[in-house]
């Protein structure tokens, strides 16, 4: 039987993987994917916290509702984000962060 600590550890690793991906990878698509991993890390931890109910001793469903909202919002973000990346690709034929150098002072 996995404990709360196991879930939190998995969630922490997911968050770190996501953050590392955002910092280190150079392709915007991969960066975007890493951002989704970060949101899912939060989802996992929220459900674990909610299931084990540390404070009240029983399940608290607020967090599970929040998870549904996060999933929905992430989908909306992907819809808009991919549209932006596609129009960027049409204009520049690239999705690499190094090529975004128009705005400098």
């Amino acid at each position: 039987m996995p404990t709360l600590a196991n879930y939190l550890l998995a969630s922490g690793i997911l968050f770190a993987v996501g953050l590392g991906g955002v910092m280190l990878r150079r392709s915007i698509i991969i960066i975007f994917m890493s951002l989704e991993i970060m949101l899912n890390a939060a989802n996992l931890a929220l459900i674990a916290f909610s299931r084990y109910g540390l404070v009240s001793g029983h399940q608290v469903f607020d967090a599970q509702i929040l998870v549904f909202f996060i999933i929905t919002v992430a989908a909306a973000e992907v819809a808009v984000g991919l549209a932006i990346i596609v129009s960027l690709y049409r204009a520049r034929q690239t999705t690499h962060v190094e090529d975004l150098d128009t705005l400098k002072f």
Partner: protein, 480 residues
């Protein structure tokens, strides 16, 4: 009628205008901006009626509040959206240049209507007292702003600005959600108001994960308000985004972020273990933001970038106010600073938009000899710059004065010293613009045409700067 119906009215207005845009066959879309502004003005008037807040015990009351903070900032957001909507007809030529021309006027309508949905999101955000509500409202506003800032999809600068905004915005969302997760994990609640009570029941050992959660939320909010350590997107996005969107980002979205920060700090203030550490962190952030924003603004040659760094600097002054929350005058001072910030920033963006359209660029050198080409625009810009720098008898001066006063009363002598030095730096870069307008020769002599709407906006915002500078009483009274 209920205060929460104001937000629904804004969403309804937006949907009505979208339908009108689809079914009315006119290539000139200006009427959408005027209808939208008129509708928001009516909603603004309605907000002054004696409205009921959500009744205690009703499902709404767990998520939304209608305290003075939310009422003041709801009106603030409505006013800034009205100004931005009235700016959009003047931005049409740029939209026509950088949008694929399938049909004349295609895409202009949505550009005018989308700010309404941002406005509704931000209005919910300033009234929200539950992290779930704050998260959803924040995302409604932010995702719409992604679309708006990338709107010129054949312009490299706008695309790049939008992509950077998207990536960093989504990153800050990740931090925000993970922060909420840990706060929920420790306290078992997502409600900000019941947070202090839940924390008081906790054992000492749970402070560390709680601090971790609060720190993540602070980082995420620093993105929203454009302060250190998440300020680096500001200059790029401000420069690349369409000018009305930049104006909107710098005023409305910053204000909503500050309201959430205030609510969180007011709730955690009652928890002694946390309050101490949090104030230390906010003080540090205020100092670094002030120094960074003002120093980086000095060498700028692009006007929009300059205003971007200036907005980081102003976030620093506002954080000074937030760090002094212990004083009763802190929230009125922050509110007044925001009112001043609204009129002076929007005025400078209105003038910038007209000048950029007439001269073909946004560099400060394009303002050369503006006083000969259009004394009205030059005068308005001078007034805005004087107020941003903080000359007496302008709104900016009163705002800074009150913030410095509460900071001194709370014993933040270091911050006030940094503040005074950075104000001096501010004089240098704001008056660079004034010098270009009044002491440099114009390359062209032709006068710049100014439309009636823009004249009206300049008159109203200019009057606002002087009125707040001379008689700030009503705004302060509204927040006490």
């Amino acid at each position: 009628m209920n205060t929460t119906s104001l937000e629904f009215a804004v969403v309804g207005l937006g949907i009505l205008l979208l339908l009108a845009e689809a079914f009315i066959d006119r290539t000139n879309k200006d009427y959408l901006a005027y209808l939208g502004a008129a509708g928001l003005a009516i909603i603004l008037v309605l907000s002054f009626l004696p409205l009921q807040g959500p009744a205690t015990g009703s499902p709404d009351s767990a998520f939304l509040t209608s305290d003075i903070l939310s009422v003041f900032f709801t009106r603030f957001l409505l006013v800034s959206t009205i100004v931005v909507l009235l700016m959009t007809p003047g931005y049409k030529p740029v939209l026509a240049r950088y949008l694929p021309a399938e049909k004349e006027g295609a895409g202009v309508g949505e550009f005018t209507i989308l700010p309404l949905f941002v406005c509704a999101g931000l209005m919910w955000m300033v009234s929200a007292i539950d992290f779930i509500m704050i998260f959803v409202a924040l995302e409604l506003a932010t995702i719409t702003l992604y679309v708006l800032s990338t709107y010129l999809r054949q312009n490299m600068a706008s695309l790049e600005a939008g992509t950077k905004f998207l990536i960093l915005g989504a990153l800050s969302t990740g931090f925000f959600v993970y922060g909420i997760t840990w706060i929920f994990g420790v306290t078992g609640t997502t409600n900000i108001v019941s947070l202090p009570q839940s924390i008081s029941l906790l054992p000492e050992s749970s402070t560390l994960p709680l601090l971790f959660g609060v720190a993540l939320i602070l980082v995420a909010l620093s993105f929203k308000i454009g302060a250190f350590p998440f300020q680096f997107w500001v200059p790029d996005v401000y420069q690349g985004a369409p000018t009305p969107v930049t104006a909107y980002l710098s005023v409305a979205s910053k204000a909503a972020g500050f309201v959430v920060l205030l609510r969180l700090l007011v709730a955690l203030e009652t928890v002694p273990v946390l309050a101490h550490k949090l104030y230390a962190v906010v003080t540090l952030l205020a100092g670094v933001t002030l120094i960074f924003g003002n120093l980086a603004a000095i060498p700028q040659t692009n006007m929009k970038r300059l205003l971007g760094y200036s907005s980081v600097a102003h976030a620093g002054y506002l954080l000074m106010g937030v760090a002094s929350l212990g004083s009763l005058m802190a929230i009125p001072a922050i509110g007044l600073y925001f009112a001043a910030y609204l009129v002076m920033t929007l005025l400078s963006f209105v003038v910038l938009m007209v000048v950029a359209e007439a001269t073909g660029g946004e560099e400060i050198s394009r303002f050369n000899g503006l006083s000969q080409r259009s004394p009205l625009l030059a005068g308005a810009m001078l007034l805005a710059m004087a107020s941003l720098a903080g000359i007496p008898f302008t709104a900016g001066f009163v705002g800074k004065f009150l913030i410095f006063e509460v900071a001194l009363k709370q014993g933040h002598f270091g911050l006030v010293a940094i503040g005074c030095i950075t104000v001096a730096a501010g004089f240098y870069y704001y008056f660079k613009v004034a010098r270009a307008m009044y002491w440099q020769q114009a390359t062209e002599e032709t006068p710049i045409p100014v439309s009636m709407t823009i004249k009206l906006l300049i008159a109203l915002l200019g009057a606002g700067i002087l009125a707040l500078g001379i008689y700030p009483g009503p705004v302060l009274a509204a927040l006490r």
